[in-house]
Amino acid sequence: MSASFRFAVNVTPKAGILDPQGRAVEQSLPHLGVSGVSAIRVGRRVELTVEAANAAAARTVVERLAAELLSNPLIEAFQVEPLGAASSVVAEVVR
């Protein structure tokens, strides 16, 4: 028997790595009349559904994907976030 688990993997540039996107956003803030916003880092968020026997098994798959595919350890850090089955945005079927 198996069940579906939904996760997000958040990938962010590592400390010290140049983040030109973050800087570009920061530079555009004055044009928007926004102040007091800083330390902007732009990364990736990947949401996915895993079919597995249990939550722990599912998480193992996600951790592996995150480490090997979704992030590059030289430049990026990642963090896995369980979303539960309820997430509606993602329940569509993609063939």
Binding site: V25, Q27, S28, H31, E92, R95
Partner: protein, 786 residues
């Protein structure tokens, strides 16, 4: 098998469904007449898309019939996905231009990206491998934040798609004009090359053959792109669930190109059609109608991206990166194998039939390709009713009340004291012009494009027409796009004719022979008599110019309703031309080549500054008009320059266009890194001689020893021509002599300077940095990352 079933519950709104779908009462009646009964809702939805302006050309079709389309080498002309012309060596070139104006106004990146995707499909559908893209872009004021947002997104979108699929973007246009505020124009031209015998047509011959859909799956995106369906609430669905924006997937397109060309190469398809506006409805009805057949479509067989899509959604979805192939049953396995190799979903969605109808069922086909027992017929429409026999409207054309006629060529000019150049330093005007957003270097834009992939680019974006060598031959293709909204706004006939003259001239001055014209007719709301008059005049100008220059129109596209709350666009027929240079070793460029070369001006300077870049910068006298165009003269100029280049008499060739003679000389100097010293005899006003844009003029340079022969040849062609100076030094100096320059003007106490004198460094600086400055891209910029 049961009878036609109603689709969806009855509408709740008061307005009848056909109105909400943008179908008029007259059109509804015509639909009923075609069907012999009232349409059901699904049929009505299909008609609404297929009878939209975009798919049916219901306003423009009678006009397009007046265009000259014949030519000895034309292999495919209007009516096919792209024009095709034989170029010898067993090869043919396919090319077409298309607009994606409205989608780009809504979502600039994706709108432009999917525009590139769509025009590329038109090319490889014909069996041609796409080898180049040109993008003609038009915007409002570059200082405007909205313009900058649109430009940034559109340029990134063109690049994002073209770069990824690996087709170089080698040319195009970038024009700023207030009339495009709120309604930018994104016209993209694509060029492909095919072995002459491999031409593939978009047709569905052979009842019993399979209709196979391959490429991306069908989603809810883009529903409404071809009609007002998006804004109409249709049936019970929540329309907000249907994104009107289509997202392009250039990676999928790249796979689609390779798979489609592999299918054609293996001779596995009887016909091939890309899916664009109108989606499956359009692809099935057009291919069937062309072959005089019908197609039976099983909705259940169509791979959908989302569950629960309504039949109308599936039938009119404009999901990108899809193709329809017509395949003999015995080839099905081989077709599936090729699609599988490229990892593309593939599905047999129906059969070609002999009944001439597009029939849509649900419930599957049996082994013989007939509807299975228990299947339901949802719609049945004669294919011809959707395409070749679609409704045509007889629109009313009325010229605007006050309209100034263009002066005829050769009309004597009266010097006009109201012209604002009096008292200005012409050198400063030149720097202003050449650094202005419409004339400065476009490098900021085209650097975002891959212009060298495929290793054919001999001349990429930046300096005149693009030149692509044809591998395995000594030949080259030369391509350009041109439009002229500034004159078109004053005289739409002249604007169109000038655009054809300039585009073909830009090809001829490389030494190449223009092969054919493709055109994108960007106009306003055709139900307004004045806008329809502009369209009618534009098509007349296009036809007249093509006839005079003896060049066929091989295809194009019509984009109407280009209006925004800020107003209608200036009429903008965008002209794309492809030419053939037989010997690439004979290619001539616009840049000055060597110190000491003689500079020759061919053609005659005539008055009329309205519509010029100078007029935009300096203003123009109210009674002035645009310059005249003598099409016979234009044809002679182009014949002459091709012959001169063919004889090896020309070192560099540039035409006089935007910014006039001074800008043409400055460009030759900047690009060649050689200055020049020129002397002009001014008869009327210096502004006309320096900055006037009257057509049919060339700036040629030649080795001093070749100059006499070149002048002789010009005279043999009946063309005025004379030496005006020589190449050399690190300045551009244009001395002004004659009555108009000093005598009369000084006599009247004005301060006209008697020479234009700028350093190459200054003029290059102005040219190189003007665009980025105008767009604010020389500073940290505003804008998100979305």
């Amino acid at each position: 098998m049961t009878a036609v079933a109603p689709v969806g519950p009855p509408a709740r709104e008061l307005a009848p469904l056909h109105h909400r779908l943008g179908v008029t009462d007259v059109e509804l009646e015509a639909i009923g007449a075609k069907l012999g009964r009232p349409p059901n809702d699904l049929e009505l939805a299909i008609f609404s898309v297929m009878w939209s302006e975009h798919c049916s050309y219901k306003s423009s079709r009678p006009l397009l019939r007046t265009l000259p389309t014949g030519g000895a080498d034309v292999v495919a002309g209007p009516g096919e996905n792209a024009g095709v012309i034989a170029i010898g060596d067993g090869l043919a070139v396919a090319f077409k231009i298309e607009s994606h104006n409205h989608p780009s106004a809504v979502e600039p990146y994706q709108g432009a990206a999917t525009g590139v995707g769509g025009i590329l499909r038109d090319i490889f559908t014909m069996g041609a491998r796409p080898i180049a893209v040109l993008d003609a872009l038009r915007f409002g004021d570059p200082a405007d934040a909205r313009t900058r947002h649109l430009l940034r997104g559109i340029v990134a979108g063109v690049g994002g798609y073209g770069n990824c699929v690996g087709v170089p973007t080698v040319g195009g246009e970038l024009v700023f004009d207030p009339s495009y505020t709120g309604n930018p124009l994104v016209n993209v031209m694509a060029i492909g090359l095919l072995p002459a015998g491999r031409l593939t047509l978009a047709q569905a011959p052979g009842p019993g053959n399979l209709a196979i859909l391959f490429g991306s799956t069908t989603g809810r995106d883009g529903i409404g792109g071809a009609s007002v369906l998006a804004s109409a609430t249709f049936g019970e669905d929540d329309p907000s669930k249907r994104p009107t924006v289509q997202v392009g997937d250039p990676f999928a397109e790249k796979l689609l190109i390779e798979a489609s060309l592999a299918l054609i190469e293996a001779r596995l398809v009887e016909g091939l059609q890309d899916l664009g506006a109108g989606g499956i409805s359009c692809a099935t009805s057009e291919t069937a109608d062309r072959a005089g057949t019908g197609i039976l479509v099983d909705l259940d067989a169509i791979p959908c991206r989302e569950p629960g899509m309504a039949p109308f959604e599936v039938m009119i979805s404009e999901s990108q990166e899809r193709m329809l192939a017509i395949v003999r049953p015995e080839h099905e396995a081989a077709v599936r194998a090729i699609c599988g190799r490229w990892n593309l979903p593939v599905a047999t969605i129906g059969r070609v039939t002999a009944d001439g109808d597009i029939t849509i069922i649900r419930g599957g086909l049996d082994a013989d390709g007939r509807p299975s027992a228990g299947s339901v017929e949802l719609a049945r429409i004669p294919a011809a009713a959707l395409t070749s026999e679609a409704i045509v409207h007889d629109r009313v054309a009325t010229p605007p009340a006050r309209r100034r006629a263009a002066p005829a060529p050769g009309v004597p000019y009266e010097p006009n004291d109201l012209l604002p150049e009096r008292g200005m330093d012409p050198g400063a005007i030149l720097l202003g012009l050449i650094g202005s957003p419409n004339l400065a270097s476009r490098r900021f834009v085209f650097e975002q494009y891959d212009s060298t992939v495929q290793v054919n680019t001999v001349v990429g974006p930046g300096h005149g027409a693009a030149v692509l060598r044809v591998k395995g031959t000594s030949k080259a293709l030369v391509a350009t796009t041109d439009g002229n909204q500034a004159v078109g706004a004053i005289d739409p006939w002249l604007g169109a004719a000038l655009s054809v003259a300039e585009a073909t001239r830009n090809v001829s001055i490389t030494g190449a022979r223009p092969l054919g014209v493709t055109n994108c007719l960007n106009y306003a709301d055709p139900t307004r008599p004045e806008a329809f008059w502009q369209l009618k005049e534009g098509v007349r100008g296009l036809a007249d110019a093509c006839r005079a220059l003896d060049i066929p129109v091989t295809g194009g596209n019509v984009s109407l309703y280009n209006e925004s709350p800020a107003g209608a666009i200036a009429p903008t027929p965008e002209i794309g031309v492809v030419g053939l240079l037989d010997d690439i070793a004979r290619l001539v460029g616009p840049e000055f080549v060597a110190d000491g070369d003689t500079i020759i001006l061919v053609g005659e300077t005539t008055p009329g500054l309205a519509g010029s870049a100078y007029a935009e910068l300096a203003g123009v006298a109210p009674e002035d008009g645009p310059p005249g165009l003598d099409l016979a003269r234009e044809a002679a100029v182009q014949r002459f320059v091709r012959e001169a280049i063919g004889r090896g008499l020309v070192a560099s060739a540039q035409d006089v266009s935007a910014g006039g003679l001074a800008v043409a000389l400055a460009e030759g100097a900047i690009w060649g890194d050689h200055g020049a010293r020129v002397r002009l005899l001014v008869n009327g006003t210096p502004a006309v001689d320096l900055f006037g844009e009257n057509p049919s003029r060339l700036v040629l340079t030649a080795r001093p020893g070749d100059a006499p022969a070149l002048l002789d040849l010009a005279h043999q062609h009946g063309l005025p021509a004379g030496e005006i100076g020589s190449v050399g030094g690190d300045r551009l100096v244009i001395e002004l002599g004659g009555r108009g320059a000093i005598g009369d003007a000084e006599g009247r106490g004005t301060l006209t300077s008697d020479a234009l004198d700028v350093t190459l460094t200054d003029v290059r600086h102005a040219w190189e940095h003007g665009l980025e400055r105008a767009l604010g891209e020389d500073r940290p910029r505003a804008g998100g990352i979305a």
